[in-house]
């Protein structure tokens, strides 16, 4: 199924939640979904019989200072052989959106990683804590304005 058809299906079900895919000159296009409805949209995409997006390939955060953080969902259907990209834009000051780990269990660790590296909070996540960095680390390193630490637990970071 092409992305326009998927968008048409979603627009019928969630009239205000999904925007039409923007025209891109190169690369892949995407569907912009509002933060509040991402969980319902994902559940719909997974369970509907002609969509069946059973696999979440990847969940990434992207930082666009100064306003926005983006969570990108790459979905794929192993049965129907089609894929779609969803994007959720959240404000940089208070980034939060519902979790999709109840839809795809694999999202659990991916969301923890996005929280760890970008500071995006996933509401309803079963255990949102740092996954890669130590628990007492300060800051979220993949944000563009991240300042490197000078010291960690008494160890100097640079000479």
């Amino acid at each position: 199924m092409e992305i326009q058809e998927i968008h048409a299906r979603l627009a019928r079900e969630f009239p205000d939640a999904v925007e039409a895919p923007p025209e891109v000159t190169s690369g892949e296009t995407f569907l912009k979904v509002t933060a509040a409805s991402i969980q319902d949209v994902c559940r719909f995409l997974k369970t509907e019989s002609d969509l069946e997006f059973d696999s979440l390939m990847s969940l990434s955060g992207v930082d666009y200072p100064p306003e926005e953080l983006v969570v990108v969902y790459h979905l794929c259907s192993t049965l129907r052989r089609h894929r779609v990209v969803l994007k959720v834009f959240v404000p940089r000051e208070d980034p939060k959106l519902p979790t999709v780990s109840s839809v795809w269990p694999t999202a659990n660790w991916h969301e923890r990683e996005a929280y760890d590296l970008f500071g995006i909070r996933f509401l309803g996540h079963p255990g949102l804590r740092r996954i890669l960095l130590p628990h007492d680390w300060e800051g979220h390193p993949l944000r563009k304005d991240y300042v490197f630490p000078t010291e960690y637990r008494g160890i100097k970071c640079h000479d």
């Binding site: 255990g127 890669l132 960690y152 008494g154 160890i155 640079h158």
Partner: protein, 193 residues
Amino acid sequence: MPILENKFEENVVFSTVDEMINWCRLSSIWPMTFGLACCAIEMMAVGAGQYDMDRFGAGAFRATPRQSDLMIVAGTVTYKMAIRIKRLYEQMPDPKYVMALGVCASAGGPYYEHGYHVLKGVDKIVPVDIYVPGCPPRPEALFDGLLKLQEKIRHQKVLRRPDDEEIAALQAQTEQYDQETRKLHPVPKEYRG
């Protein structure tokens, strides 16, 4: 000792106690099974048939620090891991040696500039005896490092009373490590993750 020469059968060797102890030590260095990253794969290759580290008496990889003499820090040390490495080092019995295998363990290597989570050299937390450069070092380089370490052990003084200056230096070193250890406080019990 000319007076004793030719008085005994063959296979009796005269030597100093120092030399004998050093010879024993250097001929059976037991490394710890402790791989961090890419270099650990080369360490595995060294343990396997083609390179065979057993030739130098260093093939008995021990799984626990309490039975090992040599810690081969094979790979990139991150801050999260640094605390554990420090603890592993402290669990090893004396005499203990540390080999920094690869540029990451020696100085941060390719992760020096933007590696916010990479320790820039394991010598920031434990004393290192041998640095082996390379990314990753070839097995031959590891052997070279091992032979250099053996050479270092061969010339150690074992039975000697240290003078006052040395005792003071040792005490200062111990205190420094104690202080650093206190800084590297353990992870709170309630935290798991």
